[in-house]
Protein backbone atom coordinates (compact mmCIF):
# COMPACT_ATOMS: atom_id res chain seq x y z
CA UNK A 1 0.00 0.00 0.00
CA UNK A 2 1.13 3.49 -0.79
CA UNK A 3 1.51 5.65 2.28
CA UNK A 4 0.87 9.36 2.04
CA UNK A 5 3.85 10.08 4.26
CA UNK A 6 6.14 8.16 1.97
CA UNK A 7 4.90 10.13 -1.03
CA UNK A 8 5.33 13.40 0.82
CA UNK A 9 8.86 12.42 1.81
CA UNK A 10 9.64 11.56 -1.79
CA UNK A 11 8.40 14.95 -2.95
CA UNK A 12 10.40 16.72 -0.25
CA UNK A 13 13.41 16.74 -2.54
CA UNK A 14 13.47 19.61 -5.02
CA UNK A 15 15.01 17.74 -7.94
CA UNK A 16 12.67 14.80 -7.43
CA UNK A 17 9.74 17.21 -7.41
CA UNK A 18 10.91 18.60 -10.74
CA UNK A 19 11.19 15.09 -12.19
CA UNK A 20 7.67 14.35 -10.97
CA UNK A 21 6.29 17.64 -12.31
CA UNK A 22 7.76 16.91 -15.75
CA UNK A 23 5.84 13.63 -15.87
CA UNK A 24 2.48 15.31 -15.34
CA UNK A 25 1.77 15.92 -19.01
CA UNK A 26 3.30 12.90 -20.67
CA UNK A 27 5.26 9.71 -20.17
CA UNK A 28 9.02 10.04 -20.49
CA UNK A 29 12.11 7.88 -20.41
CA UNK A 30 14.84 8.65 -17.89
CA UNK A 31 16.99 9.99 -20.73
CA UNK A 32 14.31 12.41 -21.92
CA UNK A 33 13.79 13.61 -18.39
CA UNK A 34 17.49 14.25 -17.89
CA UNK A 35 17.62 16.48 -20.98
CA UNK A 36 17.43 20.12 -20.03
CA UNK A 37 17.44 19.37 -16.34
CA UNK A 38 21.12 19.77 -15.63
CA UNK A 39 21.08 16.40 -13.90
CA UNK A 40 22.73 13.18 -15.04
CA UNK A 41 20.67 10.37 -16.42
CA UNK A 42 21.72 8.07 -13.59
CA UNK A 43 20.68 10.65 -10.99
CA UNK A 44 17.29 10.93 -12.70
CA UNK A 45 17.01 7.13 -12.65
CA UNK A 46 17.66 7.11 -8.93
CA UNK A 47 15.01 9.76 -8.34
CA UNK A 48 12.57 7.75 -10.43
CA UNK A 49 13.24 4.68 -8.29
CA UNK A 50 12.37 6.65 -5.14
CA UNK A 51 9.20 8.02 -6.76
CA UNK A 52 8.27 4.51 -7.86
CA UNK A 53 8.81 3.09 -4.38
CA UNK A 54 6.61 5.89 -3.02
CA UNK A 55 3.83 4.89 -5.41
CA UNK A 56 3.97 8.13 -7.38
CA UNK A 57 5.18 6.81 -10.72
CA UNK A 58 4.87 3.58 -12.66
CA UNK A 59 7.05 2.30 -15.44
CA UNK A 60 5.97 0.54 -18.62
CA UNK A 61 7.88 -0.95 -21.50
CA UNK A 62 7.57 0.68 -24.91
CA UNK A 63 9.64 -1.45 -27.22
CA UNK A 64 13.12 -1.22 -25.83
CA UNK A 65 12.40 1.96 -23.88
CA UNK A 66 11.20 2.20 -20.31
CA UNK A 67 8.65 4.96 -20.00
CA UNK A 68 7.74 6.51 -16.66
CA UNK A 69 4.35 7.98 -15.93
CA UNK A 70 2.46 9.41 -12.97
CA UNK A 71 0.66 6.76 -10.90
CA UNK A 72 -2.75 8.25 -10.21
CA UNK A 73 -3.30 5.86 -7.29
CA UNK A 74 -0.45 7.53 -5.42
CA UNK A 75 -1.82 10.96 -6.26
CA UNK A 76 -5.21 9.88 -4.93
CA UNK A 77 -3.69 8.75 -1.66
CA UNK A 78 -1.99 12.13 -1.33
CA UNK A 79 -5.20 13.93 -2.14
CA UNK A 80 -7.15 11.97 0.46
CA UNK A 81 -4.50 12.78 2.98
CA UNK A 82 -4.66 16.48 2.15
CA UNK A 83 -8.40 16.94 1.80
CA UNK A 84 -9.79 14.63 4.43
CA UNK A 85 -11.85 11.77 3.09
CA UNK A 86 -15.12 12.47 4.88
CA UNK A 87 -15.03 16.25 4.47
CA UNK A 88 -14.84 15.90 0.74
CA UNK A 89 -17.47 13.18 0.58
CA UNK A 90 -19.93 14.98 2.88
CA UNK A 91 -19.49 18.28 1.05
CA UNK A 92 -20.45 16.50 -2.16
CA UNK A 93 -23.48 14.99 -0.40
CA UNK A 94 -24.57 18.42 0.87
CA UNK A 95 -24.44 19.84 -2.65
CA UNK A 96 -26.40 16.93 -4.12
CA UNK A 97 -29.12 17.11 -1.42
CA UNK A 98 -29.48 20.87 -1.88
CA UNK A 99 -29.71 20.48 -5.65
CA UNK A 100 -32.45 17.87 -5.16
CA UNK A 101 -34.31 20.16 -2.74
CA UNK A 102 -34.11 23.10 -5.15
CA UNK A 103 -35.41 20.97 -7.97
CA UNK A 104 -38.34 19.78 -5.81
CA UNK A 105 -39.19 23.39 -4.86
CA UNK A 106 -39.23 24.52 -8.48
CA UNK A 107 -41.46 21.72 -9.74
Amino acid sequence: MIHAERALDALGDRTRRRVFARLRNRSCSAGELAQGMNVTRSAVSQHLQVLKAAGLVVVRADGTRRLYQVDMRGVEVLRRWLDGFWDETLSAFKEAAERAANKARRS
Partner: protein, 168 residues
Protein backbone atom coordinates in the same frame (compact mmCIF):
# COMPACT_ATOMS: atom_id res chain seq x y z
CA UNK B 1 -16.08 23.84 3.31
CA UNK B 2 -14.94 24.67 6.80
CA UNK B 3 -18.05 26.62 7.75
CA UNK B 4 -20.29 23.83 6.59
CA UNK B 5 -18.59 21.03 8.40
CA UNK B 6 -17.45 21.10 11.96
CA UNK B 7 -15.38 18.42 13.51
CA UNK B 8 -16.08 17.04 16.96
CA UNK B 9 -13.98 16.27 19.97
CA UNK B 10 -10.90 14.17 19.94
CA UNK B 11 -11.82 10.54 20.53
CA UNK B 12 -8.89 8.82 18.78
CA UNK B 13 -11.16 6.00 17.58
CA UNK B 14 -13.80 8.19 16.03
CA UNK B 15 -14.15 10.88 13.38
CA UNK B 16 -17.22 13.12 13.73
CA UNK B 17 -18.64 15.58 11.26
CA UNK B 18 -21.73 17.76 11.22
CA UNK B 19 -23.17 19.12 7.99
CA UNK B 20 -26.06 21.57 7.73
CA UNK B 21 -27.99 20.83 4.57
CA UNK B 22 -30.57 23.22 3.10
CA UNK B 23 -32.93 20.39 2.22
CA UNK B 24 -35.80 18.72 4.07
CA UNK B 25 -35.04 15.55 5.98
CA UNK B 26 -36.86 13.34 3.44
CA UNK B 27 -34.75 14.72 0.61
CA UNK B 28 -31.49 14.46 2.56
CA UNK B 29 -32.27 10.85 3.49
CA UNK B 30 -33.24 9.94 -0.07
CA UNK B 31 -30.16 11.50 -1.63
CA UNK B 32 -27.89 9.84 0.91
CA UNK B 33 -29.35 6.35 0.70
CA UNK B 34 -30.77 6.10 -2.84
CA UNK B 35 -28.66 8.45 -4.93
CA UNK B 36 -25.17 7.86 -3.65
CA UNK B 37 -23.80 7.71 -7.20
CA UNK B 38 -24.80 11.36 -7.62
CA UNK B 39 -22.41 12.58 -4.97
CA UNK B 40 -19.94 9.93 -3.84
CA UNK B 41 -16.56 10.72 -5.47
CA UNK B 42 -16.58 7.39 -7.32
CA UNK B 43 -13.67 8.31 -9.54
CA UNK B 44 -11.42 8.38 -6.49
CA UNK B 45 -13.07 6.54 -3.65
CA UNK B 46 -13.67 3.06 -4.93
CA UNK B 47 -11.88 -0.23 -4.52
CA UNK B 48 -12.76 -2.31 -7.58
CA UNK B 49 -10.69 -2.61 -10.73
CA UNK B 50 -13.57 -1.57 -13.00
CA UNK B 51 -14.66 2.04 -13.43
CA UNK B 52 -17.26 2.52 -10.69
CA UNK B 53 -20.62 3.78 -11.92
CA UNK B 54 -22.84 3.37 -8.85
CA UNK B 55 -22.78 3.01 -5.08
CA UNK B 56 -25.70 1.12 -3.60
CA UNK B 57 -27.12 0.68 -0.10
CA UNK B 58 -29.67 -2.12 0.08
CA UNK B 59 -32.52 -0.62 2.14
CA UNK B 60 -32.76 -3.07 5.04
CA UNK B 61 -30.81 -4.24 8.05
CA UNK B 62 -28.28 -6.77 6.79
CA UNK B 63 -28.34 -5.26 3.29
CA UNK B 64 -25.15 -4.84 1.31
CA UNK B 65 -23.36 -1.59 0.68
CA UNK B 66 -21.35 -1.90 -2.49
CA UNK B 67 -19.97 -0.25 -5.60
CA UNK B 68 -20.96 -1.38 -9.07
CA UNK B 69 -18.52 -1.24 -11.96
CA UNK B 70 -19.23 -0.45 -15.59
CA UNK B 71 -18.67 -4.14 -16.37
CA UNK B 72 -21.45 -5.16 -13.97
CA UNK B 73 -19.06 -6.36 -11.26
CA UNK B 74 -19.71 -5.39 -7.66
CA UNK B 75 -17.36 -4.80 -4.73
CA UNK B 76 -18.70 -4.80 -1.19
CA UNK B 77 -17.88 -1.93 1.15
CA UNK B 78 -19.93 -3.02 4.16
CA UNK B 79 -23.36 -3.87 5.51
CA UNK B 80 -26.42 -2.05 6.81
CA UNK B 81 -26.47 -2.35 10.62
CA UNK B 82 -29.41 -0.03 11.35
CA UNK B 83 -32.04 1.29 8.96
CA UNK B 84 -34.42 3.91 10.37
CA UNK B 85 -35.76 5.85 7.37
CA UNK B 86 -35.37 9.63 7.52
CA UNK B 87 -33.67 9.56 10.89
CA UNK B 88 -30.79 7.15 11.37
CA UNK B 89 -28.51 4.90 9.36
CA UNK B 90 -25.68 2.72 10.61
CA UNK B 91 -23.35 1.03 8.15
CA UNK B 92 -20.30 -1.11 8.64
CA UNK B 93 -17.28 0.14 6.70
CA UNK B 94 -15.24 -2.95 6.01
CA UNK B 95 -12.51 -1.46 3.87
CA UNK B 96 -9.05 -2.06 5.25
CA UNK B 97 -6.12 0.35 5.44
CA UNK B 98 -4.98 -1.26 2.17
CA UNK B 99 -8.33 -0.37 0.57
CA UNK B 100 -9.49 -3.97 0.36
CA UNK B 101 -12.85 -5.39 1.49
CA UNK B 102 -12.65 -7.47 4.66
CA UNK B 103 -16.00 -8.34 6.27
CA UNK B 104 -14.22 -8.93 9.56
CA UNK B 105 -13.02 -5.32 9.81
CA UNK B 106 -16.31 -3.81 11.02
CA UNK B 107 -15.63 -0.17 11.55
CA UNK B 108 -18.95 1.68 11.87
CA UNK B 109 -20.51 4.71 10.25
CA UNK B 110 -23.54 6.28 11.87
CA UNK B 111 -25.51 9.03 10.12
CA UNK B 112 -28.31 10.91 11.89
CA UNK B 113 -30.76 13.19 10.09
CA UNK B 114 -32.24 15.89 12.33
CA UNK B 115 -34.72 18.54 11.22
CA UNK B 116 -33.19 22.00 11.46
CA UNK B 117 -35.27 25.16 10.96
CA UNK B 118 -38.07 25.20 8.40
CA UNK B 119 -36.63 23.14 5.63
CA UNK B 120 -33.16 22.18 6.68
CA UNK B 121 -31.46 19.08 7.99
CA UNK B 122 -28.59 18.72 10.37
CA UNK B 123 -26.66 15.64 9.39
CA UNK B 124 -24.52 14.21 12.16
CA UNK B 125 -21.91 11.81 10.93
CA UNK B 126 -19.59 9.55 12.87
CA UNK B 127 -17.04 7.02 11.67
CA UNK B 128 -16.08 5.01 14.74
CA UNK B 129 -14.33 1.88 15.97
CA UNK B 130 -11.21 2.99 14.16
CA UNK B 131 -9.34 0.93 16.77
CA UNK B 132 -10.17 -1.94 14.38
CA UNK B 133 -7.36 -0.63 12.17
CA UNK B 134 -4.88 -1.67 14.87
CA UNK B 135 -1.49 -0.03 14.53
CA UNK B 136 -2.67 1.81 11.40
CA UNK B 137 -5.42 3.63 13.26
CA UNK B 138 -3.70 7.02 13.34
CA UNK B 139 -2.81 6.82 9.67
CA UNK B 140 -6.43 6.04 8.78
CA UNK B 141 -7.81 8.66 11.12
CA UNK B 142 -5.69 11.27 9.38
CA UNK B 143 -7.06 10.17 6.02
CA UNK B 144 -10.69 10.16 7.14
CA UNK B 145 -10.62 13.29 9.22
CA UNK B 146 -10.19 16.81 8.07
CA UNK B 147 -6.57 17.80 8.26
CA UNK B 148 -7.62 21.39 8.85
CA UNK B 149 -5.22 24.27 8.60
CA UNK B 150 -2.25 21.94 8.52
CA UNK B 151 -3.69 20.25 5.45
CA UNK B 152 -4.42 23.55 3.74
CA UNK B 153 -0.93 24.75 4.50
CA UNK B 154 0.53 21.63 2.92
CA UNK B 155 -1.79 21.94 -0.05
CA UNK B 156 -0.60 25.52 -0.54
CA UNK B 157 2.95 24.28 -0.21
CA UNK B 158 2.32 21.55 -2.77
CA UNK B 159 0.76 24.07 -5.16
CA UNK B 160 3.70 26.43 -4.77
CA UNK B 161 6.06 23.54 -5.28
CA UNK B 162 4.32 22.54 -8.50
CA UNK B 163 4.22 26.13 -9.75
CA UNK B 164 7.87 26.66 -9.03
CA UNK B 165 8.75 23.34 -10.64
CA UNK B 166 6.81 24.42 -13.73
CA UNK B 167 8.76 27.66 -13.87
CA UNK B 168 12.05 25.76 -13.94
Amino acid sequence: MAEQITSGASDPNSVRKVVSVQAPREVAWRVFTEQMAKWWPLAMYKIGKATAVDAVIEPRVGGRWYERGDDGSTCDWGRVLAWEPRSRLVLSWDITADWQYDPALQTEIEVRFITEGDAGTRVEFEHRRLDRYGDRRDEMRTIFDKTGDWGRLLAAFAQTAVTSARAD
